[in-house]
Symmetry: none
Subunit: 202 residues, 4 copies
DNA sequence: ACATAAACGAGACGGTACGTCAGGTCTTTCA
DNA sequence: TGAAAGACCTGACGTACCGTCTCGTTTATGT
């Protein structure tokens, strides 16, 4: 029973896949070239060889377009859990070093920064951004820490969500606010310091 | 030795203090009312009873106006160091609880969020933002931790800058990305977890 | 064969007739109310209930708008030739008296003056102004004088273009520069004096 | 007895002659370089090395400045009457040919055109323009024609003001509206045609 | 296979804000 | 105290995009 007040419900089954792809490509290319503030719907449409209405039909804002576009890229990566060699510190350092390298890659910077920034001012967008892009990566750390908690490497009773934040937030914050470099040394120091705090006491 | 290529250097000594104040008030009021994206230079000028050119003469962007405006407010606070009762955990919890309350205050939210977001996409702005608004607050934590290190509460050799990040970044990140509430309980748990990691090993 | 350097060619077939009309009406009304110098594109757009871009899309300047607007009004008049009763003097006086009355009408004054003035400083505009508004009225005089030349009322060999100027220029000049009134008496005297000069000699 | 409502009465005796000259020079130079529409008070002030207020103190508009500036130049010419060799046609042709050459000189064009155009839309300005610049040149023609009327070359009873208009208006109009060239041939034809009309009848 | 309805490309439209320019007023500083 | 310098408020400029709204033109079933 459709809401008769609804303005229009475009028929998703007839949607042009070609246009969708072209819009994603254009959006990602443009945000890298001109930055988020100068990214425009008209620019995306023109670069994609698409009518403006085709964008407005399927997305409510340029942030939503970019989120979908970036999400499509991210989804192509496998999201296996973290490795579990039995050495928690080594496992965390290994993955975080790889993540640091990723964040230092220019192709990721522009869209990720843009979306993070847009989310800061737009509550709904930030919820989607967190759920779609941040939560999946966060969860694997929580899972690995839980495994470590079960083997006694991490003290029982520690709030793993907060523990993960202690690990990932300094990392993200440094990058977002440019308060420091994301080097492998930094990652190692951070992991050691955090794990020390999580270790069973006494 | 002035740069002869400089387009024009307005004479700061003739600047109207009345206009400057009115612009700050208008900017802060408007960013709270309509949000950063709908904040416009024209809107600020009109609300402040000021010509647009008076804004363009002294600031390069709306972000710069807002940064100055918010900075002026922040500067009115005393920036004493953290209390030092000898109990590091208690001191940190006391101050962080107060900060949490501050961040939950709507009047602070709008401009701070706006500037953080703008900084994410604008390197130069982010440097100013960090130096002007974040660094002063961060430094007092570093100082308090150094004092604690000297009394042996904190292990020698710990990188205090990173330690401070472990404390403040999860806090900021939660707030910026809305991944959780800033409650007193959260603050207490975070402080305990972090301090445990900093404690001398034994 | 389109000029590829041309910036953009708006599609005239999609043009809104309603907007075009509204712009003409607004331009003519405003030039009468506030005068040419205080006539603004923004004012026209606002009065016409039209976006500024809709004006800039189709006209290069406010003078061009006004020229089209006034031209559209003028085109509604029939441009029959002058009457030919066989009495040249009477025919000229009859038409020139009517023209004098027209020029003394406030509704004609504002746009005509404005365009004449704009043309003085803008060569291209003046060419259009002359071709579109002045030439058609001038031609009918030349034609009538030619007929008179064939009947012998006007001396053969007289340059009819210059003869027409002798008749019309004093008239226009008086009005433009406000050096005198355009009365029926003035018209009669002028016609008599000019025709005397054109009469066959001997 | 000064009008106490008058906002301010600058003391003309203290006026800086140096500034006045510089303003005239700047105005005439600029109107030639950029045209009347792009001539600005700020531009004149800056070029003249003068404060804007110094212009506003002494003139009400840029047209007034230009009128004074051009008038000062014109006043340096002697305004003797027309020559009177006894041959009216020859005398008129001689002077009108010289005038045609003058009007074809670029240095005269810009300010004269500008003032004529400004006068079309501004009644008060046009009165001053006519009285200051046009009337003196016109009067010498009227005087010469009166002399001719007394010798019988021109029919008694002819309105000399209108006769002069028949001679000068076609000339000015051609130039203002660019409807034709001001050649010596043109001048000769015009003079002959007009004089024929003025000749005693019978 | 073909009718038909939707999505599509294109882009004109009424708007808002941009950043710039100049107008005319006012104040400060200097000679 | 007149003049230079220039900051100020005002308001129009011409441009860029916004989001909405037609226009024909594909395209993709569904009978």
């Amino acid at each position: 029973m459709a809401d008769p007040r609804a303005p229009k419900a475009p028929d998703a089954s007839r949607r042009s896949e070609r246009s969708r792809r072209a819009i994603f490509d254009a959006a990602l290319a443009l945000v890298g070239e001109v930055g988020y503030d100068k990214l425009t719907i008209e620019g995306i449409a023109s670069r994609a060889g698409v009518g403006k209405q085709t964008i407005y039909r399927w997305w409510p804002s340029k942030a939503a377009v970019l989120l979908d576009a970036f999400g499509a890229v991210v989804d192509e990566y496998d999201h296996e859990g973290l490795p579990d060699t039995g050495d928690l510190a080594a496992d965390l350092k290994f993955v975080l070093r790889a993540t640091a390298d990723e964040f230092n890659d220019a192709a990721w910077q522009a869209p990720y920064r843009a979306l993070a920034a847009a989310g800061v001012n737009d509550e709904e967008l930030s919820r989607t951004f967190v759920a779609r892009l941040m939560e999946p990566s966060t969860r694997v750390y929580v899972d690995r820490l839980r495994a470590a908690q079960e083997t006694g490497e991490v003290a029982p009773g520690v709030d793993l969500r907060i523990a993960t934040e202690m690990l990932l937030s300094p990392f993200s914050q440094r990058w977002l606010m440019r308060t420091g470099e994301l080097t492998h040394d930094y990652v190692d120091t951070l992991v050691d310091l955090v794990l020390h705090g999580l270790r069973p006491r006494g």
